[in-house]
Amino acid sequence: MSGTLAEKVWESHVVRRAEGEPDLLYIDLHLLHEVTSPQAFDGLRLAGRPLRRPDLTLATEDHNVPTTPGPILDVVSRTQVETLRRNCEEFGVRIFPMGDAEQGIVHVVGPQRGLTQPGMTIVCGDSHTSTHGAFGALAFGIGTSEVEHVMATQTLPLKPFRTMAITIEGELQPGVTAKDVILAVIAKIGTGGGQGYVLEYRGSAIRALSMEARMTICNMSIEAGARAGMIAPDETTFDYLKGRPDAPQGELWDEAVADWSTLRSDDDAVFDEVVDIDASSLTPFVTWGTNPGQGAPLGTSVPDPESFGDENEKAAAQRALEYMGLAAGTPLRDIHVDTVFVGSCTNGRIEDLRAAADIVKGRHVADGVRMLVVPGSARVRLQAEAEGLDRVFTDAGAEWRLAGCSMCLGMNPDQLAPGERSASTSNRNFEGRQGKGGRTHLVSPLVAAATAVRGTLSSPADLDALVEETV
């Protein structure tokens, strides 16, 4: 039977199928963090139920953790973290707490341990679970009742989804990254364009990307409204996984690779929707508004709301410009920022930090700009420190922090002040998300680093121009 990648993974996890009922799907890995799990644990306790598969469940502390040394000062944050620890102990779940070398953002930890593997079903009470789709896993965020359901049964009753192929052919220009690709995809299909779909990213430009870049793309599928994003596994995937602590070893590895190699959409598979993008046409992309779909190439200007044909979009753009304190027609490159944030489950992996470090090396963060570099996990931090990246950042005047979700959602003290403007490698530029009144432009790590140096939204190419002008 021919089918898409998503359909194949779905079919191989159907525990029960009955007329008029949603399919019951088996869940291979359930990831937990402190914010969306407490009521689910409490539900189990109230019903006197055990957690069915502690060995397929992993918890980490990420949303609330401070990125500077010391305890959590906020009472609500501390209660959530302490509650997770108690719950994990009571129900026998492995946890990576603050201070542990394995701690980090849940979507960075799974892949770096090799727990995230092709063909798996992975869920977490967090919308950016789509990240794991980069390995050819079907991975998506769920609500607290569903978290409890998976805890008790290791399954979920699920309604079918539609499939969308997003094919990106050609070569990306130098300085254009996975982040620019996904921001351009979201701007093209809209923040609701993926609703009800699982997106499959394919084409030569995707094949050429590293695993980390693929994770950046799948991570933001949810910002297009999609349930999940996926990329078929290939040699790049297998090379990334081989030798990681939780990856199969020996004969099991060979068996796994043989199975994983069948995980791709058949040539005659039919997608419900198809989108084509020419990779060579893409340039560094930044957002100017208050949702991830309100973005434009860095070389353009803040759009005039009147230029939108759709009345809702026009009104949304108007509101966004008011909130962002921007005037239509302003060149994006002229926008000054106060803060630059490099991190999050979108761009907090070692490759992202290397890319940013490469730009700031030998340069200095512009006067009046603060740059926060927050590794996605403790392992990423240790790796970066072993490579000397921490010193590159601190020498350039940036702050080098401990791992966590940090300024992506401001549940810890890393927040923007009212009116403060940031360039951020995170995934959401919603009103108030990084702090009441905070203004965020979503950018790639390269653009973030160049922006930190110039003080206005910039690409690395602008820094070269700066040198030429000076000379």
């Binding site: 109230l46 019903a47 060995d55 209660t79 959530q80 492995r94 593997q117 008790a152 009753p157 068996e255």
Partner: protein, 197 residues
């Protein structure tokens, strides 16, 4: 989830329509890490008013809420159902409910009974004339009995069956636990497990 066949308890007349979930429990009460204790946030804004019905000692121990149409609109928060149940309510009577609230209620074991608005008016008058009077809600026969009033109510067959059997989503899935166990036996050996500490 407990089985629900019939329930008798003090009826509380809430003469308001469009009671949204922000009124049932304001967002500021959502920070708790348990599924219990949300009764402190139930109708929090209204309870500051001395004349609010639940501040009348005769109704304070109520377990059957009789409300106006379009109960439970707005935010999908499951906490609204938890708050009502934590307070002690087992039944909400209204001629019309918001879909998501009705769905959430069925899953948690709170009966949403839908009589006609005319019958709701009769129930309100009865409960206001007889503060602290009991109402009996019989799910088996889909009937509300209060004093001389006998009012039929609607509830969808699937929800009624689940409440009568005491089956929440998890219980329903666990009825097929043998299928889960059988599936687990077929999972490839290379699939990862989380190393215990």
């Amino acid at each position: 989830m407990e089985r629900f066949t019939t329930h008798t308890g003090i009826g509380v007349p809430l003469r308001r329509s469009n009671v949204d979930t922000d009124q049932i429990i304001p967002a500021v009460y959502l920070k708790r890490v348990t599924r219990t204790g949300f009764e402190d946030g139930l109708f929090a804004a209204w309870r500051k008013d001395d004349t609010f019905v639940l501040n009348n000692p005769a109704y304070a121990a109520g377990s059957v809420l009789v409300a106006g149409p379009d109960f439970g609109t707005g935010s999908s928060r499951e906490h609204a159902v938890w708050a009502l149940m934590n307070y002690g309510f087992r039944v909400v009577i209204s001629s019309r409910f918001a879909d998501i609230f009705r769905g959430n209620s069925g899953k948690q074991g709170l009966l949403t009974a839908r009589p006609s608005q005319d019958d709701v008016e009769l129930l309100w008058k009865y409960l206001e004339n007889e503060p602290g009077a009991s109402i009996t809600v019989d799910l088996e026969s889909r009937t509300i009995v209060a004093g001389d009033i006998v009012a039929p109510f609607e509830v969808d067959d699937y929800t009624r069956w689940r409440l009568l059997e005491g089956l929440d989503d998890i219980s329903l899935t666990l009825r097929n636990e043998a299928d889960i166990t059988a599936f687990e036996a077929t999972r490839p050996a290379y699939k990862p497990v989380v190393a215990s500490s």
